[in-house]
Structures are given as C-alpha cells and as structure tokens.
C-alpha cells in the first residue's frame, strides 16, 4: 500500500465515514460472524473494511429471500416495473457518488466512471420496462387439437443465488440482479469480492426505492467460502455463476444438482453490450394451463 503523507494537523472538519454492512431482509446487519476484511482501491490504498459474510448469513439471506418471494411475485408487473424504475431514479440522484466509488474501486477515469454509472442507471430502466412486457413475448395461447383453451405463461423460478461479476462492480452487478427480480424472483447476491463497496452503496439505493425488504439480499465476503453454501442450499431454486471463475464452477454445478437447481453460465461478458433477454429467460418457469371449452 503506498503511503500517503499524513496531514500535519487535524482537518477543520473530519469526514464521517460509512460502515459497509450486509443487506438482508431490508436491514443492514453486520456479519453474524463479526468478521470483516479490508478492501483496497485500484491504487492499493485502504478504502474500508467490508463485512465478511458467513454460512449463517447466507442462510439468513435465503430465509429473507424466500419470505419476500411470493409477495414480490404477486405484485403486479406494472408495480414491479415502477419499483425498478424508481431504483434508476434513486441511482441517478447519486451518480457522482457512484462515479467516485467506481474510480476508487476500479481505477476508472472520471469520465469513464460517470458513463459506467449512466449505463447502470439505463440498465435499470431497460429491465423496468420488461417487467410488464416479458410475459407477452414468451407467453402463448396454444392451438391444441381439442376443445380446450390452453395458454402458457412465464412465472418466476423462485429464490435465485447470484454470484455477481468480479470485475464490473456496479454495471455488472446491476446487469445480473435486475433481470432476476424483474420477473418476480428474489435474489441472494454475493458481491464482487475485491470490489464490494459499490454493491453496498447500491443496497442503500434499493432500500430507498420501494423495493420490499428481502427481494434483494446482498452479501460481501469470500466468494470461495459463500458460493458452495448457496449452490447446495435446498431452498434456492437457481444459481447464476457469472462471478465464479470457470475452473471453480464444476463443484458448484454438482452441488446445485442436489435439488435440480437451474444453473446459469454466462456467455459473452461485455457489460456495455445490449443485454438482450437471455438473463430474463434463465430464471423463469413456463406454466401451461388447460381448461375445457363447452357450454
């Protein structure tokens, strides 16, 4: 860590620093384990101590996600869309703060940091709009050979474990979380291990965006420690392994088979690209309903 020259005397006003905590069930607890770990910026300087979540925190987060899931799925799609749009509004109001955090975390230039925050804001808007349209593009009325009305529609898979990307601590994070919740799933997210601070700040945005507590739960800590518990948890229905390096994925895929989890393995990972609909498609179930037609 490069040493910076210490100021010779105390500043006139001392900044009030933030404690970076977890986000579970709408609250900001420390890790139940009491552990934390140092987070350094791209220049190696200490930025903060982040909470180092434990297995128990994973389980608490899954409980919170499960509790929140039926209510979030039952909310109207219009309502979910407005909540996601509200997240964009709140994020836009804090774009300079996030740009500064990205500069510190990822070493981006100021201009690049701002454009990345803007892309993250726009991504919330993109997925906000999908909330009440996705069922129309993937649902169908099916012309069966008989006197039956038959239709198919997408439903949320349930609780989704998300290993967020390691590199892109805000745009990447938003790109993996927004499509999960847009369709009515709830999420347990493990943030970028080395760059967790923008994620914790995003949790503050979520907490002030009318998103019900528990819809997104965010853990910071060691991916290698947390991912196996998430992958093997019986009450998690699907898992997104984006933030896990390819060689570390197979044991998680194997653990996921214990309850036939849906496993999402990402394709291309340029977060600036058009996101498409593949992430929406990865965490839905198709339900088909039949009813006879008659008088």
């Amino acid at each position: 860590m490069p040493t910076k020259a210490k100021p010779s005397k105390a500043p006139e006003r001392l900044r009030v620093r933030k404690t970076y905590k977890l986000y579970i069930g709408g609250a900001f607890p420390r890790s139940e384990s009491g552990r934390s770990y140092p987070v350094t910026g791209s220049d190696g300087a200490l930025l903060a101590q982040a909470a180092q979540a434990s297995r128990k925190d994973v389980r608490d987060a899954v409980v919170a996600a499960r509790k929140a899931q039926p209510g979030w799925a039952r909310a109207t799609a219009y309502n979910r869309g407005q909540v996601l749009y509200r997240v964009a509004e709140m994020l836009d109001g804090r774009r300079e703060q996030f740009a500064a955090e990205l500069t510190a975390a990822e070493g981006l230039t100021d201009a690049k940091a701002l454009s990345t925050v803007d892309a993250a804001i726009d991504r919330w808007v993109w997925y906000a709009g999908w909330a009440d349209k996705y069922a129309q593009i993937v649902g169908s009325s099916n012309p069966v050979a008989g006197p039956y009305f038959n239709f198919s529609l997408p439903e949320p898979t349930g609780v989704v474990g998300v290993l967020a990307p390691q590199d892109s601590s805000l745009l990447g994070l938003v790109s993996v979380v927004a499509p999960v919740i847009a369709t009515g799933n709830t999420a347990v997210v493990v943030a970028s291990e080395q760059r967790p601070l923008p994620a914790v700040s995003l949790a503050e945005v979520l907490a002030t965006s009318d998103l019900p507590g528990g819809v997104v739960n965010l853990l910071t800590g060691r991916v290698g420690e947390l991912a196996p518990w998430l992958a093997s948890h019986r009450d998690v229905n699907a898992i997104d392994l984006t933030g896990v390096a390819a060689p570390d994925r197979p044991p998680l895929q194997q653990a996921a088979a214990d309850n036939v989890k849906r496993v999402y393995l990402p394709g291309g990972l340029d977060w600036a690209d058009d996101p498409g609909t593949s992430r929406l498609a990865a965490f839905i179930e198709t339900k088909t309903v039949w009813h006879p037609i008659g008088v």
């Binding site: 593009i137 993937v138 169908s140 099916n142 012309p143 069966v144 050979a145 008989g146 039956y148 038959n150 198919s152 898979t157 229905n237 994925r249 197979p250 044991p251 895929q253 194997q254 996921a256 088979a257 214990d258 309850n259 036939v260 849906r262 394709g267 593949s278 498609a281 179930e285 198709t286 339900k287 088909t288 309903v289 039949w290 009813h291 006879p292």
Partner: protein
C-alpha cells in the same frame, strides 16, 4: 353403477409384426449391438417377445462418430428440406399406427385403447408439428439466426416408449441437431420400429441413431465427449446424477423428471366429471405417468361422497389383457416396478393409511397390480411423498383454498396439478398458486404437441412441446 359383461375383444398380436430378433440402428444401418443379447418380455404373461442385441459403450462411440459426421450436412440443409423428412416420418407413423399400437401394448403392457388412441397418434402429431418449425426457426423468438447445438444424446423411459422417442427426436431434428436415442431396456421395440420408419424415409445416415441398452449405455452417452446436449426423461434420482455428471463439460441439458401431482376437488365441482378426471389422472397407463394425479386433495365437505363415487367407479374398471379393446388397466411394465409398487403400498398400510381395492381377478401370469386407493393418508406418509409410478391413489382432505395450495405445493416435485371447481376466479387463482409446469383445470392428463410440458423444482427443467420446446435444441 351397473357393470356390463363384455366378451373378449382382443386385437390380433400378428398386427404388431413382431420379429424374433432386433438389433441397433447406427449410421443408417441395422446391426447387432456389441452388448448382451437380452429378451424383451411381454409383461402381461412374462413370455419373451423377441431377442434384442443390445448396444455396448463401443456402439456409443460409433453412433457419436456417425452423428457428428451427419451433423454438418444435416444442419446445413435448408429448413424446408429437413421439414419434409419429418413430415414423411409423421405420415409413416400414421400409416403403421395399428402395428405400432399393438407392438407398444405387447412390449409395455398398456391397454391397446391407450396405445391406439393416445400414444401413437400423439407421436405422429409431434413429428408433424415440429416438421413445420424446421423452416420457421427465425420466427420462433430465439434470435434472428438460431443455430442447432450439435449431437443430442436422448434417454427415454418405458412408460410411453414411442411417444417419448417422438418428443425427443422431432424437435431435435427440426432445429438441425443429430440424435443418439436410447430407449428403455424393457421397451425397445417401438423405437426400433421407428428406426425402420426413419430408414424408409431416407433420412441421411447418422442423423438418428437408436441404441437399445441398459444404464451403462445411457451413462456412456451422458459421459461421451462428442455429445453436446443431453435430454433425459426419467427419475429425479437419475436426473440429478446426470446433472452432476455434465458439470463443467459445457454440455447442455434438459430434464423431465418425477412428479407427485395434486388433483384438487372442490365441493362445487361437477363431481361426475371430477370422478372421471380422478380415474384418468391416476389409472391412465397404470399410473406409470410422471404427471399422474397421485395425490387426491378433496374438500372435506364432499370427501365421503367423492370417495364412495370413486370406489363405485373403480368397480367397473377392467383389468387384464392389454390387447383387449375393453381393457382399462393393463400390466405393470416390469417385475422390478411391480416390486417397488408393492413395497411402497405396504409402507402405506404400515404407516397407518387405509387401503382399498376393488375385487378384481388378477391373471395368473404377468405383472399386475389392482387399482388401489388409500384414505386416511397424512402428508408425512411415504405414499403421499414418494412417486409410486403405479395405479395407487392417496386421498387427503382440506377445508380452505389456502390449505389446498399449501398441501398441493408441499412436495419437492412440481410437474403437474389438477383443479376441479365450477368457479372461474378460483381456477385462475389456483393456476397462479400451484408450483407446477402444467395445470389441468376441470380436466387431467391432456397432451398436445403444441402445448409446452415440463416441471418446476425437482421435476426438472426445460419444456417439451410447442414453441417453447425448440429452446432445448437451439444454441444460446
């Protein structure tokens, strides 16, 4: 309910054109597999039907080589040409439908009226449906230039042998993949007859390869490096093994696994129709149906009435010769499955549930199990939790809609569910609440090639049927 006496009306077994010996179908040619020659048994009388020279893992190597070779030209063929091959197959199944129905009932034990009216027509319809997709994939909503995955390894169960082969092969070929199909060890005959149809349709060699064989052949397919995609229908236990096996290989997978469906009867339901739906839900195909309505949830106020009417109806079911056109309940497919049904039903009794079966004559030879209804079942009982895959119904009761939903969803499975009520808003509410891939409202066990089928939770993932069924065979 009067029971009418019927004279026997058996379909002739000669129509099945049963051969003494069957092999495997690799690279467009029939040959003996390098595995053991086994006998496939008629479960209705335990007599051998034919000898099958099964595949060995070395045959899997050959089939994969053939399928890989065939993949380039097949996937490059214009969609309209692939379509015409599939239409040919659909038409040939229709032409040989009577033969296939008899063969299916002989090998599987299911009543001829089911193989004739359900399995075979739906198999033909499935090919006909997906044929039409082959030249329209760009319009299916999976991107502007959809591509096939490559070589698909497909493993199917014994409960709907021909129909499951159709569900697997038709969408795979329509999307431009090539196929290695393994039918179940106890029911290879209709799949091998389908291989004849495929050969007669002049499908290029290697596009479809059909390997009769046991679990070691299935394992070799799943583990083979030259296979790009696995499609499996069968037990949840094996599905999990497959999901673990392919971890880290980059193979795509779709799984259609077990079920323990709730069939929910409300007091305002049209009870006569509901009774027919209950019977069809659990006794269709001897209950060898992953989406069978094996848990009956009856509203308490009508439980006695429903159980009495159900028992009266079951007295009229005819169990016996699968080839007899009047037979309702055929033979259990194998001795192993019969043993499992017996074991699970005896646990039902020992755990305190009340067992009832109509008096019915069980033939001296063959594998048979009388239709069975358990009442006084608790949710904790083994028979209310585990898939029995036999003609066994567990009856539970409920008082409120919320309790019905809670009980219906109280299972790791999520394949199908049924709801019987005359109240439209309640149907739609239940359709929303039930965590199952198929919900039948005031009907049960309906299937159609245009209707997506597949599970939630531990009943697997991916859909078969409809536009949705293409996704499992297109590259992401």
């Amino acid at each position: 309910m009067p029971k009418f006496e019927y004279a026997p009306a058996p379909e002739s077994r000669d129509i099945g054109r049963l051969k003494e010996h069957y092999g495997i179908f690799v690279d467009g040619a029939f040959r003996d597999g390098a595995g053991e020659a086994t006998k496939t048994i008629n479960p209705a009388n335990e007599e051998p039907l034919a000898e099958v020279a099964e595949a060995a893992p070395s045959d899997v190597d050959d089939a994969v080589r053939a399928a890989r070779r065939a993949f380039g030209p097949w996937s490059a063929l214009p969609g309209r040409e692939r379509a015409k091959y599939l239409y040919r197959i659909a038409r040939a199944i229709q032409e040989r439908s009577r033969e296939l129905a008899v063969l299916e009932s002989l090998d599987n034990g299911k009543p001829i009226k089911e193989s004739r009216d359900v399995d075979v027509p739906l198999a033909a319809a499935h090919f006909f449906y997906y044929a039409g997709w082959a030249d329209k994939l760009e319009y299916a909503g999976f991107g502007p230039s959809p591509r096939p995955i490559g070589v698909a390894g497909q493993i199917i169960p014994w409960n709907f042998p021909l129909l499951m082969a159709a569900w697997k092969i038709a969408p795979a070929l329509a999307c431009g993949n090539t196929v290695i199909l393994k039918p179940a060890e106890t029911t290879p005959l209709t799949a091998l007859t389908l291989a004849e149809i495929i050969a007669e349709a002049d499908l290029p060699p290697g596009v479809v390869n059909i390997l009769a064989g046991g679990p070691e052949v299935g394992q070799a397919i799943v583990e083979h490096e030259g296979v790009d995609k696995i499609a499996f229908t069968g037990s949840t236990e094996v599905g999990k093994i497959i999901q673990r096996t392919i971890a880290g290989t980059g193979k795509r997978v779709s799984l259609e696994l077990g079920g323990k469906a709730a069939n929910i009867i409300f007091e305002d339901a049209a009870l006569d129709q509901a009774i027919e739906g209950i019977v069809n839900g659990i006794f269709f195909n001897q209950g060898h149906v992953c989406c069978a309505g094996s848990r009956l949830l009856v509203q308490e106020s009508v439980a006695d009435e429903v159980i009495a009417a159900l028992q009266a109806r079951l007295l009229t079911l005819r169990l016996g010769d699968p080839l007899d056109k009047n037979t309702d309940i055929g033979a259990i497919n194998s001795a192993a499955q019969l043993a499992r049904i017996r074991e699970l039903t005896s646990s039902g009794e020992s755990e305190g549930a009340t067992r009832w079966s109509p008096p019915c004559e069980i033939p001296d030879r063959g594998y048979w199990f009388a239709p069975t209804v358990f009442t006084n079942v608790s949710q904790a009982n083994t028979i209310a939790r585990e898939e029995i895959f036999g003609p066994v119904l567990s009856v539970l009761t409920f008082r409120t809609p919320a309790e019905a939903v809670e009980k219906a969803n109280n299972t790791p499975y999520g394949l199908s569910a049924g709801i019987w009520t005359e109240k439209g808003s309640r149907i739609l509410w239940f359709a929303q609440q039930l965590r199952a891939g198929v919900v039948w409202a005031n009907t049960f066990n309906r299937f159609d090639p245009g209707s997506p089928f597949g599970g939630y939770k531990e009943s697997g993932f991916g859909r078969e049927g409809g536009r949705h069924g293409l996704e499992a065979y297109l590259a992401h």
